[in-house]
């Protein structure tokens, strides 16, 4: 059933369901009774009042999905509410039948589920990524999903949403993670291309979001040669292009091409860097675009020769700033170095708790399996 844009609508497909006997979290208790809005269950974050899960890690009847990364967006749910772009990305990854029924929601549009007002707001993480805001009579909760505040020409910029409780990611939740300007990192790559024109430059980048952002940054830095991509990136990259993101001349690498790509830039899933596939290129320089590249031991561990500190997550400074700016007095922290940011919140008088959700992955380092063609 279609929802008209800009208007509050009631999504009647969501029947009230008896509440399961899950242990409700008390963190958001007190006079506000925010626990009606959000609690933690084995499949993940759950809104009892609206009877809906957010980014559940196993199939559930009803799910709100923040973005298309595989640890947040899984196949097999009953009904799914997400942005149109996230929905399209899920269909690309899992096939058109990835759930029983789906409904696309525009950024800022308000949908009412059993009296809870739900809206999606840009998270600046990847194309279609959203923070999910739940407004009930007891208050307002925002689930950030993954987000960043640094410049990214391939997706809508992060929108700050004020709330009473903020569920934030903390992938880079240590003060050593301060992401530099991504353009400077791309300049590093281009300098290396100039210094080693007879070598191929292989850049490992997560296939959804990071890869396309690197392509766009290369274009903005003046790289006008074709950009070569591994087959695993093809569908998503075409989707970005179809959404109006101009990435220039993008070419898929065929087996025969590999030996001829001296002086070229090839983007592939990170898992491919250590694979036999990469050895057919002329004396390849292996680069990896990830926030983890900030720490030398991590880069060395993976045998990376040219670490590029480019992240699609907030760094420490932006994480702290965002927590402050939301005005939230309660902070839940998901995947990452939760202890450090919890400590930081506590030194500022904020009530903060780590939320250990099993199954949330680390999308800066994509699983080997997913990178395989």
């Amino acid at each position: 059933m279609p929802v008209s844009r800009g208007k509050t609508s009631c999504f009647t497909g969501w029947a009230a369901r008896p509440r399961a006997n899950w242990p409700a979290l008390t963190y958001l208790s007190g006079q506000m009774a925010l626990s009606d809005l959000l609690t933690l269950t084995p499949p993940g974050l759950y809104c009892p009042a609206a009877d809906v899960h957010i980014d559940p890690v196993r199939p559930v009847p009803r799910a709100l999905i923040t973005h298309g990364h595989s640890d947040h967006a899984r196949a097999g749910h009953g009904r799914v509410l997400a942005t149109a772009q996230t929905m399209a990305i899920m269909a690309l990854r899992y096939g058109a039948q990835f759930c029983e029924s789906q409904q696309a929601v525009a950024y800022g549009e308000r949908v009412t589920l059993n009296g809870i007002e739900v809206s999606f707001h840009p998270a600046g993480h990847v194309l279609g990524s959203a923070q999910i805001r739940l407004q009930g009579p007891s208050g307002c909760v925002v689930v950030s999903g993954d987000y960043k505040r640094a410049y990214d020409p391939t997706c809508a910029p992060f929108e700050l949403v004020r709330c009473d409780a903020f569920v934030t990611e903390a992938t880079f939740g240590l003060p050593v993670f301060r992401h530099p300007d991504a353009a400077g990192e791309v300049a590093k790559l281009l300098r290396s291309c100039a210094l080693f024109p007879e070598r191929a430059h292989l850049v490992g980048a997560y296939s959804l979001g990071k890869a396309q952002r690197v392509m766009k940054l290369l274009r903005l830095s003046g790289w006008d040669k074709p950009i070569w991509i591994h087959g695993a990136l093809e569908k998503i990259t075409h989707f970005y292009q179809s959404e109006g993101i101009d990435l220039g001349d993008i070419r898929k690498v065929s087996a025969a091409d590999r030996a001829t790509l001296a002086g070229e830039i090839i983007i592939c899933p990170p898992g491919q860097l250590a694979d036999l596939w990469s050895r057919k290129f002329p004396d390849p320089v292996t680069a990896f675009a990830s926030g983890w590249m900030r720490v030398r031991a991590r880069a060395r561990q993976r045998g990376i020769e040219l670490p590029l500190v480019i992240s699609d997550h907030v760094d420490w400074d932006d994480l702290c700033a965002t927590i402050s700016e939301t005005g939230a007095s309660e902070i839940w922290v998901t995947h990452g170095a939760e202890e450090a940011i919890v400590h930081w919140c506590q030194t500022r008088g904020l009530d903060a708790r780590p939320l250990h959700i099993l199954g949330y992955g680390d999308d800066e380092v994509e699983a080997l399996a997913e990178g395989a063609p």
Binding site: L174, V176, A337
Partner: protein, 555 residues
Amino acid sequence: MNRFAQLLDRLAYESSRNSKLRMLADYFRTTPDPERGYALAAMTGALSFTHAKPAIIRALIAERTDPVLFAMSYDYVGDLSETVALLWPAPQTERRNVAPPSLGDVVHGLQQVGKAQLPQLLASWLDDLDETGRWALLKLITGGLRIGVSARLAKTAVASLGDHDPNEIEEVWHGLSPPFLELFAWVEGRQERPSANNPAPFRTPMLAHAWDEADFDKLDPADFSAEWKWDGIRVQAVAGTDEEGRRVARLYSRTGEDISKSFPDLMEMLCEAHFGDVSIDGELLVVIEGAVQPFGTLQQRLNRKSVTQKLVAQYPAHIRAYDVLSENGEDLRELPFADRRARLESLVARLAHPRLDLSPEIPFSDWPALAQARRDPASAGAAAAADAIEGVMLKRRDSVYVPGRPKGLWFKWKRDPFNVDAVLMYAQRGHGRRSSFYSDFTFGVWKGSELVPVGKAYFGFTDAELKELDRYIRNHTRNRFGPVRELDFSMDQGLVLEIAFEGLSRSTRHKSGVAMRFPRIARIRWDKPAREADQIEVLETWLDVGLRQSAPNAT
């Protein structure tokens, strides 16, 4: 330094020898002198300075970060230098007014800084560098720089700049010293091959510690000789004869930079046969009709691409001799200062050249007499030269000439630094113990009817004054930008601070066009109306009389 750091960063991840060589060669080809020479020195182990202890670095970071967050970070990263490099809080970049230090700045800075000032100097470098730069700096000064490049590989990269065999570099290596200007000039085909037996070698100079007034009680004036500290450039003038019997002369800066080219007048003097084989430590000055000219005049002779006859005639160069290091093959550095001084006096008398004279001794019987001389050089025999005097030097009469900055032998006791009255413009919270106070102050001087920021100070006030300042700031805030408060200032309102600083340089990054070295608050002028603070012209005149760019000569 940032560029050198990027090279080290890249080298650290590269395993192929050939690729390392390419990176090194690219760096040497695209980096100017003397920076690349210091980089070569760092990679070949030719740099030596006292290393900073990790405890200093730990203390610096402890003042700036939460201990729990530091511990978690260190635990994760596993390396102290890297943790600190990444964790170091970014300064308010829009208010910084200095360029990041070059590797040369770091090398010089570490050679001249006293132990007590090291943490502050280090902190200011860390503020100005990026993450990679901080990592490289900390590795360098803690002696933990392991970059997988052998001295041989670095020399091979230098050789490749001019298709030379690396063995040719080895043959001349021992006659060379940082920053290796002759070596690069040769491989790039701009100069002849340096001689393996350098007839005019540079010897690392002996430097002085800052005099602490508490030292008066401990030291006996009779043990010391005093002389003026001249406001020129510390140089080493060396003359010799090569294997073919040709006269060779060199003028080196304190850091070993060969500045001979700018001083053909002095080269001519040193090449005179009766100078023989000699190495003189002295001050480079411009002297006109016996009068020492201010530093700004000397600047007319520095860093010149071409030196015209007219320039030489207009600004005649001069060496005022402090010490003699060798004479006709005899190394004199093992002699006590008093003996060397006697040798120097007879040497200068024998050479009898108008461009060379002796730095006079200051007669004094006790410390108060010397303090009086320092305060008023004219009264102690300096007469008209008083303006060219930076302070006094004290040398133990029994001190042998020790390269570097040995303790307890030589002292410099400078005249007071420069002072200016400025208006407080912005304040920001401090770090650590001071994190609840506004303790970082940006101040400005008048440019017409407008205030322009000229610097930032963190030091120079007592805790009681800090509290008063903090209260003033909270009550006089006009605007807030994140952690920064903009204060109420106008012709009729504002707090005047008397700022003392060590030097001044031109800055394009700063609206006022000037940048101060080591500014600190000398006094809080609660009594002084804002309109009576100084005008920018005052600073500009100091620039014009030539306060040095970065105090390269602070001995």
